[in-house]
Symmetry: C2
Subunit: 212 residues, 2 copies
């Protein structure tokens, strides 16, 4: 997924930046204006050295003796992650999950706007789901290319997910957040990230005691 062509900064570092950003926004909400790698690390369960090293990839955001100006660091990280703009996102799948995604308020202020909701199911097309009118998947390619959409979420059953991904790729999508519990096959120029709660649950059960 790193799309690595002369990839200077490790992908694992990039993956942590959104976590830093989330914690920083939290600190800001609490009225705190300056923080340190140590404080941030405590909150995140990450060593302070790692935070300093990660941030150092992008230039000196901190001040020796003082720490990091929270507002400044937030702005810088947003810029690095290119979320100093609002990305429009298409959602495919208007079932329970797609509906929950459409209703979720948490995308707005973190760089994303859910802008379209598609479904393959005839009976759902034209229906209102939250603030969206469900559109036919046959419209997808046109909508996505006309609006230069680069990001989509897949919220259809596993059986249809690959087919939907193929359509998205064909339409020119560059990044997919896949909620279906299945690995997608896509060309190299397309990124996929996965959300599968069961994977996290199964990871944790390894460490639990089987109950009597």
């Amino acid at each position: 997924m790193p799309l690595k062509l002369e990839n200077r900064i490790p992908d694992i570092v990039i993956g942590r930046l959104p976590l830093y950003l989330r914690a920083l926004n939290r600190l800001k909400q609490e009225g705190i204006e300056v923080t340190s790698s140590h404080e941030l690390g405590q909150r995140l369960g990450i060593s302070s050295a790692q935070i300093r090293k990660d941030l150092s990839h992008f230039g000196g955001f901190g001040k020796q003796g003082t720490g990091y100006q929270i507002n400044f660091l937030i702005t810088k990280l947003q810029s690095v992650l290119k979320i100093n703009q609002r990305w429009q996102v298409a959602v495919v799948g208007a079932g329970n999950l797609g509906s929950a995604i459409s209703h979720y308020r948490g995308f707005q202020d973190r760089g994303f706007e859910i802008a379209w909701l598609f479904d393959a199911d005839e009976s759902k097309i034209g229906q209102q789901v939250g603030r969206f009118t469900v559109q036919a998947i046959s419209e997808l390619k046109k909508v996505i290319s006309e609006n230069k959409i680069q990001i989509a979420m897949v919220a259809v059953p596993a059986e249809q997910a690959q087919e939907v991904a193929d359509i998205l790729v064909d339409a020119g999508i560059r990044a997919i957040l896949n909620y279906a519990p299945i690995n997608l096959t896509v060309p190299d120029h397309v990124m996929v990230q996965y959300i599968d709660p069961v994977v996290h649950m199964q990871h944790m059960t390894y460490y639990l005691d089987e109950n009597a």
Copy 2:
């Protein structure tokens, strides 16, 4: 989260097992009975060497010259991950997200049963959400300890998430899947895994072109 006291097998390995399992079940569904580290790796975008090394931690599951018997490997991995039993799970938060979780069918056949749905909101208590009657959070401790529940999902707004986590910890929960976009502070003996779609999205935008 590894809970590391004489932790022989790396947590990163454990984290991949659910992915292997998911892919194996897929292969099985396709009617395939035997696979190889190479085939599995192709599907997952992981090297065959890594898969062999990961699996070797648990004993010789494969046959030289042949590969891995899918049914056998599935059984073994289920056993390693302790999902050869059904874990009962409590969900806290009966909003859009909690409702979507409650309706999701995908937990059943992968080791988990959503068994209770709680909410703090007076007006929601007693309401029917899917097959659940929403219960008051004041009942939580009793229900969880009486039923020896070890796993919970947090699906409340960020502002309430830490408070809910504290209640869960107090009730004896050992593993939390947190959907709220906030880092939880819990004692060492409690694991937390996070689901925050925005984190994945922000990870991907780093690699996208800002659009004109």
